[in-house]
Amino acid sequence: MSHAAVSVVSLLAFALLALAMDRHQQDLFGRELEPRRSRALRIGGWAALLASLTIAVDAQGWSLGLVAWCGHISLSAGVVILALVAWERRKAR
């Protein structure tokens, strides 16, 4: 169960971090967000990433939790980039 939680929270983390970036704001909203909002998104993203680490370590201990967390964040970052690509492709059509 903890795997699902780590996965979802780290997915959220990378989504927020992507949204905090000018380039992806352009792609998704057609304009850049105010710096204040970008900063809030970035802080939220890092906080969520930290939260996912906490969940993983809490459930499985440092050794196994850290290993699983590394796998989850790699996968989540991959899912976010694929989602962005899919979004771009849909828009282009």
């Binding site: 795997h3 992507a18 970036m21 050794s63 290993v67 796998g71 790699s74």
Partner: protein
């Protein structure tokens, strides 16, 4: 992530007058270190990736052995196999029994032949945990081949092969470090993928695959070297541990495997193995027993060592209980090693990933697959980058052709070869002499055939044809299994056999991946350079015939 592209650029341009910065140098290093060993690395990565499911592959390759719905009690199995070894390995100074677990439906054992020393002294067999007899299954190496190939290849002396693997791993480490330095905008481009932009897209894909999996890629390369460190760097050990006794002590810190001493010559029956395993189970959990090793069974000096399983700890450092054979008295409980040995144990375990639960194992598999794709995209990128600059795209220079063709066989060909071995597992006659070896020969024969194909066909066609062949070879395996055994995909799903079903569903998913790649390659139109594009726009070429590579005639036309 806080840097923005426009903040730093102008300042940098002003303060960087030297023509070749560190990034350019590192980029060259990255490109050439990567290319030189890229093909071997790709094979090491892919066969290593599937080795995370080595036990499942082995089960699939022995369809005669029924699905294990529940793990049999290791204590009973150990006693049963030990009883069988009394006759199978009579007079042997040492038996070692590997017990079945959730991923493994057989017990295995190896033993020393009496009176023989050295490497050839060992014999091994696979046993049915329920009966204790040798298994009546086809002769196959199982998933073990991929695992072995991944660091010692085949058809060559093991030591040379391991040195070669270490050499390649070292280059991989160089490529990782130089790649990170070369990557200018690792944070700004973190989520960037520009679709349909030719070289740019390949670079984005290569970057994303590398950066997202970076913790894994760096870890797996470094720990891979650590697993064979006493081969690559033996001098520290040799200087510090001179006497046989000292060496024995060192070995005890890294391995639970004990060398048998001298027998006493007095006969004494072994105490019940079951009771000893029960003590170990009380300590580590019912199914968390890895091996039971018995030295000098039947002698008064007999010792029984029981080692802990991989579950629940990210370390392979030895943890074992040592019993006096005839009395069953606990002599020693080893549950920790020194810090240096433990560092090694953790790194080794991180590489193998055997401690993980199912989800963690899948994460290992997927991120390792991304690593394979990282090496693959890097290899392809080398040709994509140079193709646009070829003076005559019809006749590339030798080096370009070599890389292009080797890429096809190393990437598209390897999938077919690996699937080919599974085909051979089902199709080779059961009575064939040295059948297990022939499965491996089949792997190399198929791989060689794909290389020949890659050399003989136009490069683009070869890519498409071999990717489709790979897709078919993978997708038809479940069908072949359904035809040759009574454990087809539907039957497995119905029986809740997730080892067979999971493996075959994964084969189908990998087949779909090959289809997607084949379609993308077939649709791909190489981008023209701007001035050529302009020339082509002035004189529009007729659409190329469907069988011809789409981009090349257009390029030629434009270049004229």
């Amino acid at each position: 992530m806080s840097r923005r592209p426009n903040d730093t650029k102008p300042a940098k341009a002003r303060t960087a007058p030297q023509p070749r910065g560190i990034r350019q140098t590192m980029s060259d290093l990255h490109i050439w270190a990567g290319l030189l060993v890229g093909w071997i690395l790709y094979a090491m990565f892919l066969t290593g990736t599937v080795s995370y499911f080595k036990d499942e592959i082995s089960q699939w390759m022995r369809p005669e052995l029924a699905h294990q719905a529940e793990v049999p009690d290791p204590a009973l199995v150990a006693a049963r196999i030990a009883g069988e070894l009394q006759t199978v390995a009579a007079g042997s100074p040492q038996w070692s029994i590997g017990l079945p677990d959730a991923r493994n439906n057989t017990a295995s054992a190896f033993w020393r032949k009496p009176g023989v020393e050295g490497r050839r002294a060992f014999q091994s067999a696979t046993f049915d945990p329920a009966t204790g007899h040798k298994v009546a299954a086809r002769d196959t190496g199982g998933g073990e081949f991929f695992y072995r190939f991944h660091f010692q290849f085949h058809y060559m002396p093991v030591l040379w092969a391991r040195w070669l693997a270490g050499f390649c791993a070292m280059f991989m480490l160089v490529a990782i470090v130089s790649g990170v330095i070369t990557h200018k905008k690792i944070f700004i481009d973190f989520f960037t993928f520009r679709w349909g932009k030719g070289q740019r897209s390949w670079l984005d894909a290569h970057n994303a695959l590398s950066v997202f999996g970076l913790p894994f890629h760096a870890m797996i390369t470094y720990t891979g070297l650590v697993t064979l460190m006493s081969l690559y760097m033996p001098w520290g050990e040799q200087a510090a541990f001179k006497t046989p006794a000292e060496r024995q002590q060192l070995r005890a810190e890294t391995s639970a495997f004990v060398q048998p001493g001298k027998p006493s010559g007095q006969a004494a029956a072994l105490a019940p193995i079951e009771d000893m395993v029960r003590q170990a189970q009380a300590r580590w959990g019912r199914d968390n027993i890895n091996r039971v090793t018995i030295t000098h069974p039947g002698d008064a000096s007999a010792r029984v060592s029981i080692t802990r399983g991989d579950e629940g700890r990210a370390s392979v450092s030895p943890q074992f209980l040592l019993f006096e054979g005839p009395t069953g008295r606990l002599l020693q409980a080893k549950d920790s090693v020194g810090p240096a040995a433990e560092t090694r144990g953790v790194m080794y375990a991180l590489h193998l990933g055997r401690f993980g639960d199912t989800v963690t194992r899948w994460l290992y598999f997927l991120v390792s697959l991304a690593g394979t794709a990282m090496v693959g995209t890097g290899l392809v990128l080398w040709t994509v980058k140079r193709r646009a600059k070829l003076p005559d795209p019809e006749r590339p220079y030798f080096g370009f052709r070599l890389v292009e063709r080797l890429n096809i066989a190393a990437i598209a060909g390897l999938s077919i070869a690996m699937a080919g071995m599974l085909w051979a597992n089902r199709l080779l006659p059961l009575g064939l002499a040295q059948r297990a070896e022939w499965e491996v020969h089949a792997f190399f024969i198929v791989w060689g055939a794909t290389l020949a194909w890659a050399l003989l066909r136009p490069a683009r066609r070869a890519w498409i044809e071999l990717l489709w062949t790979g897709a078919a070879a993978l997708a038809l395996l479940p069908l072949l299994n359904a035809l040759t055994t009574d454990r087809g995909l539907l039957a497995s799903l119905r029986a809740g056999d997730w080892i067979f079903a999971g493996l075959e569903l994964t084969l189908l998913a990998l087949a779909a991946l090959h289809v997607a790649l084949a379609i993308r390659t077939a649709r791909h139109k190489p981008k023209l350079r701007p001035q050529r594009q302009a020339a082509a726009a002035r004189r529009p070429a007729a659409p190329p015939p469907p069988d011809e590579p789409v981009g090349e005639p257009a390029l030629q036309e434009a270049a004229r």
